[in-house]
């Protein structure tokens, strides 16, 4: 099962952008068991830890993506916005997988599957023995749905104030982190449901 899903910024490799990697959206499906912390503010410390874990994953994904872009010689202009009428070829977008050892940063060993689309990174944090092939296609599906429904390619749009759209999509296509074997027809049916429930 998926432990977390996150969307974060991706900067071009060797770019002049000296800002930080920002997590734009994250959802942890069912937290790891909190340590028995009887000190005051234990809950806040717990939340801080979770946020930092997600940020650590985002940073690793960004560096993996940058390294892959450099290695495959794709020009960094790929990561800038492109005109919104061209469909993004998600099958050719940079993607990859890497492992996280136990304790670094999650308690259990986990695997991260990631996908880079223009200047956004999408990542799924999986348990160590999940169906990786299904996770990859689910991630591509989520990216496509989010790009389509949130029209993220249009200039000036942002997903920061539309997290409910992301939640709506996740609740149908990755409910509580459950990877689903959805064929095209099921996907279409779910998309129709979502469009009906959510005003654009």
């Amino acid at each position: 099962m998926v432990h977390a899903f996150l969307i974060h910024t991706l900067r071009a490799p060797k770019g002049e952008d000296t800002g930080l990697c920002r997590v734009l959206y994250s959802c942890v499906f069912g937290a790891e068991k909190s340590p028995d912390d009887t000190r005051p503010h234990g809950a806040e410390r717990d939340r801080l830890l979770r946020k930092e874990q997600i940020l650590a994953v985002a940073r690793q994904v960004e560096s993996m993506c940058q390294l892959q872009q450099l290695a495959s010689g794709r020009p960094s202009s790929d990561l800038q916005s492109q005109p919104s009428d061209e469909p993004v070829a998600l099958h050719e977008a940079p993607q990859g997988v890497f492992g996280l050892a136990a304790g670094d940063p999650f308690q259990e060993p986990r695997t991260v599957v990631w996908l880079g689309v223009l200047s956004l990174g999408f990542a799924l944090v999986l348990d160590a023995h999940d169906n990786l092939l299904l996770a990859e296609s689910t991630l591509r599906l989520l990216a496509r749905l989010l790009l389509d429904h949130l029209r993220l390619l249009a200039p000036g749009s942002s997903l920061l104030l539309r997290a409910d759209h992301v939640e709506g999509i996740l609740s149908r296509f990755l409910p509580h982190g459950q990877l689903l074997f959805l064929n095209d027809q099921f996907v279409q049916a779910l998309e129709k449901e979502f469009s009906a429930a959510w005003p654009r």
Partner: protein, 806 residues
Amino acid sequence: MFSAGAESLLHQAREIQDEELQKFCSRVSKLLQEDLGPATVDALQRLFLIVSATKYARRLEKTCVDLLQATLSLSTCSEQIQVLCAAILRETSPTDTLTLSCDHTQNPHQLSLVASVLLAQGDRREEVRSVGQRVFTVLESRQPEGPSLRPLLPVLSKTMGLAPGILQEDQASLLSKRLVDWLRYARVQQGALHSGGFFSTPRARQPGPITEVDGAVASDFFTVLSMGQHFTEDQWLNVQAFSMLQAWLLLSSPEGAGTPDAEDRSELEGSTLSVLSAASAGRQLLPQERLRKVAFEYCQRLIEQSNRRALRKGDSDLQKACLVEAVRVLDTVCRQDPSFLYRSLSCLKALHGQLGTDPGSERALLPLAQFFLNHGAAAAVDAEAIYQHLFSRLPSERFHSPMLAFEVARFCRDNLALFDPHLLGLLKLSFPNLFKFLAWNSPPLTAEFVALLPALVDASTAVEMLHSLLDLPCLTAALDLQLRSSQMPSERPLWDTSLRTPGCLEAFRDPQFQLLFQHLLRTKASGSTERLMPLYQLLQPMASCARVAQCAQAVPTLLQAFFSAVTQVADGALTNQLALLILERSNALYQVPQYEAHVHRVLSSWFLALCKQKPSLVLELARELLELVGSVSSIHSRAGMFICVVWAIGEYLSVACDRRCTVELINKFFEALEALLFEVTQSRPLASTPRCPPQVITVLMTTLTKLASRSQDLIPRVSLFLSKMRTLGQSPATSSVHSEEDAEAIRTRATELRNLLKMPSVAQFVLSPSAEVCQPRYHCDTNTALPLALRTVTRFVEREAGFLPG
């Protein structure tokens, strides 16, 4: 995209102050009580951003939190608002002030929303258990016309994943029964089209049959690969049931003895398989057993359906994912009930032949190999062909797929304990092929291979492996050339198209270098080593390629892992070979920027470690070491390495380390080092010679002193030399070579060493201590402590110096 506007929005959200936030909370509370329209949505979206934008806790007003909790369960408001309320509460979790509970929630959709908040609390108050139990209650009390159960299964799956023991046995049986229904008995007609309302035609279209991925009418029961326009509730549950099947089978298998399944298992062990299936057919199956039977049939059907040619790309991708899952589920089923093994084998036998024809289908090879690894012995099936495919063909053909590379490395890592000696041997011999994954995809795979290397290291292939590791960037370049020369022009290029190296491509195709390239790209350990030096020059233009540079950065880490592993299994002869290899290869590396410097650092530290492990190493390699210290060029080409070697000579060339050490040998080394030191300090330096690092000079002086302390005839020579060193940097010839600080340091060291040599027995004690001196006891005892001895010597010598001129 992430524009400046978005950045400033994020900044605002993070910087908002507490009282402003409380004001906003009151506004939100007001909106939630009055109106649940677009203004409320907007406010909730902003509140979500504020709460989620920072990693530090945000305290929300109590009334606001209570209203959010209440609105969450309100069935009259839109899904959008419910979802926002749940998301806000989830983002502030874990929190001690939550009063939300699922104890009275009946509606599955609401329960799902409430669960998403409760499960984020980190199980501080047993929320996982209460959610799980509640889901079960709703599941049991299901009414046929009630709301859809679809939201429930994922919640159940998640709670069981978080806390496996929450379900009692009867509840587990009930779930298994339901899963059997949903998996096997979902209807095979499409759902009815919803009528369009008052003005629609009264005659509704007859729903058509469910079809397969290739358009044919469904030949058997409904599965995830069945197509239709509209789906019914039980068909949806079929999809969800299969999605959670593997996890449920693993979680629900009984662990201890005394349960029915465990008894069956102990009966079945050791008996023939076909007899078993007949024996168990007679009695009624338990729910768990029925589930396994249905799971088996479902997987069998999926494997058959995966053979069909899908009309849509998305479905084709799904077929491959289903194939992987089907094999995994069969593996689990057979582990829990060996009576399925015979039928599974006949199902999977044909599968191997079909893999690899369609790109992407070879991913199923891994669960297949896992299956045979788990059950091959019991079934007496020779899975050799599969392992050969996995280790010999797959890496050479598909090294460029990062997902496959990762999965193969993980497979090897996770299953080492299950590999029998023959398979382990095959794995060890296939290391050159496996390194192709590593060479092409270094950033994600380095950690995996560092964990895998100890298993791959073998005394018989260690030398070859060290060569391969040092040549890994070269392998990356060669793989790139292989792709360029073999790929069809119509396919999307997998190599770096920004780099054009026609010269290298020609060299790759040149028959003159065929042998070397073939050796580099070999699939099995050959037992011999080829010197690839001609290739380094040929491939020089590719050294600036990003992929090659990334590989070069990974090599030092891999070398560390390699040496840590090999020193555990190396005997004396192998240690010598490795040390020689270090010396030889430190001068023969592919010139990627900074590669040589980093590799030298690792190699020199491990050379010293090898010497420490086997002190007689220096003596046994005396000839090669003499050659190394015989020429000044060693200093210039590999200073770091040189320093370590000289230091090792000083430390380990003594009778204490090896009884065979003779005075002649010490004298020979002495003369070579003395000549070298003379050349770098006294002779007039040419403008073209690079500056000799001061560490080289000091280590040479120290080593000469150490050798002199062991062969005391040499002391006068060294003392004379050291006194000459005291004027270093003060003569016009040598003053420009070293900076004042360096020259000062050298002079100080020379003086210290010379003083030490004035008391030869002390010098011996200090410079060639016996093993006991390294015990702490030696230094705690104030009568024998080293600092005390040195202080005494210094005072003595200074007093003496006062009586001597100069």
